[in-house]
């Protein structure tokens, strides 16, 4: 049997279609139209690069990246199965020799590549911000910091993509249901944390003890893992990523802070994808891998 890499990527038409075929411009557009769409993004990007190079603001870059992936990860993934049901291509795909793993991973990995591309756009911004802000840090540590930040955010985006893909399949409906699920995810991932932050701020104003997740070192090295605040940490990568900024030089930083959250995200993502592959294999009576 061929290695998974070959079956899931190299010899997988589903992966190639979703990465290249589906994203192609089907109607040739004049250059001015393409430029007029692309130019604002390019201008904003370079303006942002100038701002962070001048003022630092690594926390702003982290927040922007998380927010961008917050929206993009579900947006890119929510229609992958819904589109098959809506356009009635699913039955035709089921009748091919592709395994459940090839179908699921072909779709997922195409979005993974896109996520990496989007995340990589933020790497220069992170580097510029860190270079301006961290006078107390040696260059190798700065690179390590940047890698850890990307690790947390990208692994979290992978989890969001996996969950969105799972929803897209299990809803078993067309694009309207997929769009509703996307809206639901935006609410849960985007709006709810804002409400949560507001709630915590109000608590502080009312005189309640500081509920900051970042005071975890007081709980000891491993106890934080089981603490009530563990789930929100997994849930919200900003806490983990900004924590990296806070703990960058602290000798009391929690053990594997940032690395561990990324691992948790990825373990959950693998579990979700595995469950999805098993569901597809069972429903279609196909081989799992």
């Amino acid at each position: 049997m061929k290695p998974l890499w070959q079956r899931w990527v190299v010899e997988n038409p589903v992966f190639r279609y979703h990465l290249l075929g589906q994203t192609r411009l089907t109607v040739a557009r004049p250059l001015w139209q393409v430029l007029s769409v692309a130019l604002p993004f390019v201008v904003i990007y370079f303006w942002l690069a100038y701002q962070v190079a001048t003022n630092g603001l690594p926390a702003l870059v982290i927040t922007l990246e998380v927010f961008a992936l917050w929206l993009l990860a579900p947006l890119m993934t929510h229609s992958l199965f819904a589109m098959e049901f809506e356009k009635a291509t699913w039955d035709m795909l089921v009748l091919t020799r592709l395994t459940a793993g090839q179908i699921v991973m072909g779709k997922f990995l195409s979005r993974f590549v896109m996520l990496l591309v989007f995340a990589s756009l933020f790497t220069p911004l992170l580097w510029l911000a860190a270079n301006r802000e961290f006078n107390d840090m040696a260059s190798p540590l700065m690179v390590l910091w940047g890698l850890k930040v990307q690790w947390v955010i990208v692994s979290w985006a992978i989890l969001v993509s996996a969950v969105t893909l799972w929803l897209s399949y299990h809803l078993r409906r067309g694009m309207v249901a997929a769009a509703a699920s996307f809206a639901g995810q935006v609410f849960v991932l985007f709006i709810l944390p804002i409400f949560w932050a507001l709630f915590l701020t109000l608590l502080q104003i009312a005189g309640a003890p500081d509920p900051s997740y970042l005071r975890l070192e007081t709980l000891g090295r491993f106890t934080w893992f089981f603490s009530w605040s563990w789930l929100p940490i997994v849930y919200n990568p900003i806490v983990a990523a900004v924590g990296l900024f806070e703990f960058r030089t602290s000798p009391n930083a929690p053990f594997l802070w940032g690395i561990w959250q990324g691992i948790v995200y990825l373990i959950l993502a693998v579990a979700v994808l595995w469950a999805l592959m098993a569901s597809v294999a069972k429903a279609t009576r196909k081989r799992l891998l």
């Binding site: 589906q22 020799r97 009576r285 196909k286």
Partner: protein
């Protein structure tokens, strides 16, 4: 007849055992209380084009989806070339080509890329892919549209493209669910020709439809399903003979219909006559020889015959006679 390996076979005219290419055995599908398909059984041979007829909601699509391994039967099975579709769905799929009633096309790619996608998905070796795609494009008359975006193709062309996709892996059994629905008369005629060609290639073709004239031209076998029950199935000619024990002769005589009717009623082969406008319709029992003899006697007795035609039953008559217009 079952051999030691549990495969279904039958003896040919010379007593040699041949494999029945498709044997459907007691296929049944229940959706809760609703029995969509009730214990279907039939056998088809290579080259058979089977017209699967029934009103909307009769169970045609459910049957085809079960045969295509997309739906698991509640009980029963079907054997395709010795492969059990229930026990070995993955082994059966390469033998099956299924064109659903409502099908979609992947967006943003050309007809050639669409076929290349499925050629790879069907596991056709890279070295053969190009040739296979060219062949099906030619067979379905789509070579000129190979670089056209699939979304820009007309409904008829999309139908042909879907059929080309269905033929890519050279399946033994083709399941076509309402293939002509939504097509204009020209596209329908072209599809008919194409299906005849495919039948001549020795494949088994099952075509479901409720538009009977489109099936009558090229199906050699039919099955009529109503409310999940297969009411009858077999050779078209045999069924017509069974359902029409008497022939209907329409005769027009220049000397008047009443005189002719009286003469016909005296003949032993004639069961009944009826005058319709200026012609006589006579129910006749006998073979072609007896029919020719009747015509000879008519002329010898001095009747001036202007027309003498046999009105045969068509699929629509068969369908109306067999079904009650009920749905499951």
């Amino acid at each position: 007849m079952e051999d030691g390996e549990g495969r279904v076979g039958r003896a040919d005219r010379k007593g040699r055992k041949v494999m029945a290419m498709l044997e459907v055995r007691n296929l049944r599908k229940e959706f809760g209380q609703l029995v969509a398909v009730k214990d279907l059984s039939f056998t088809l041979q290579p080259g058979d084009i089977f017209g699967y007829i029934g009103p909307n909601g009769a169970g045609k699509t459910t049957t085809l989806r079960m045969l295509a391994t997309l739906l698991e039967p509640t009980s029963g099975t079907a054997i395709i070339n010795g492969v059990d579709i229930v026990k070995e769905p993955e082994a059966a799929r390469p033998l099956i080509g299924f064109m659903p009633d409502f099908f979609g096309l992947y967006e943003g790619i050309t007809a050639y890329e669409y076929l290349a996608f499925f050629a790879e998905a069907y596991g056709i070796p890279p070295a053969e892919r190009k040739q296979v795609i060219e062949n099906v494009l030619e067979l379905t008359d789509l070579t000129v549209k190979r670089d056209a975006n699939v979304e820009t193709l007309s409904r008829g062309m999309q139908q042909r493209l879907c059929l080309a996709k269905t033929l890519l892996h050279d399946p033994l059994l083709l399941l076509l669910d309402e293939p002509a629905s939504g097509l204009d008369p020209r596209a329908r005629a072209e599809l008919k020709e194409l299906l005849k060609e495919i039948g001549a290639m020795g494949k088994i073709v099952i075509v479901s439809s409720h538009i009977l004239p489109e099936l009558s031209d090229f199906c050699n076998k039919i099955g009529i399903i109503e409310k999940g029950d297969l009411l009858l199935w077999g050779d078209v000619e045999t069924i017509l003979r069974q359902l029409q024990p008497t022939k209907l002769l329409t005769i027009r005589c220049l000397d008047g219909a009443e005189k002719l009717s009286e003469w016909l009623n005296r003949q032993p082969e004639i069961v009944n006559t009826q005058i319709v406008n200026s012609t006589v319709q006579a129910q006749f029992v006998g073979d072609d020889e007896a029919q020719a003899e009747l015509l000879r006697r008519l002329i010898l007795d001095g009747h001036r015959i202007a027309t003498f035609t046999e009105t045969t039953m068509d699929l629509e008559d068969v369908f109306l006679r067999v079904t009650k217009g009920e749905v499951a």
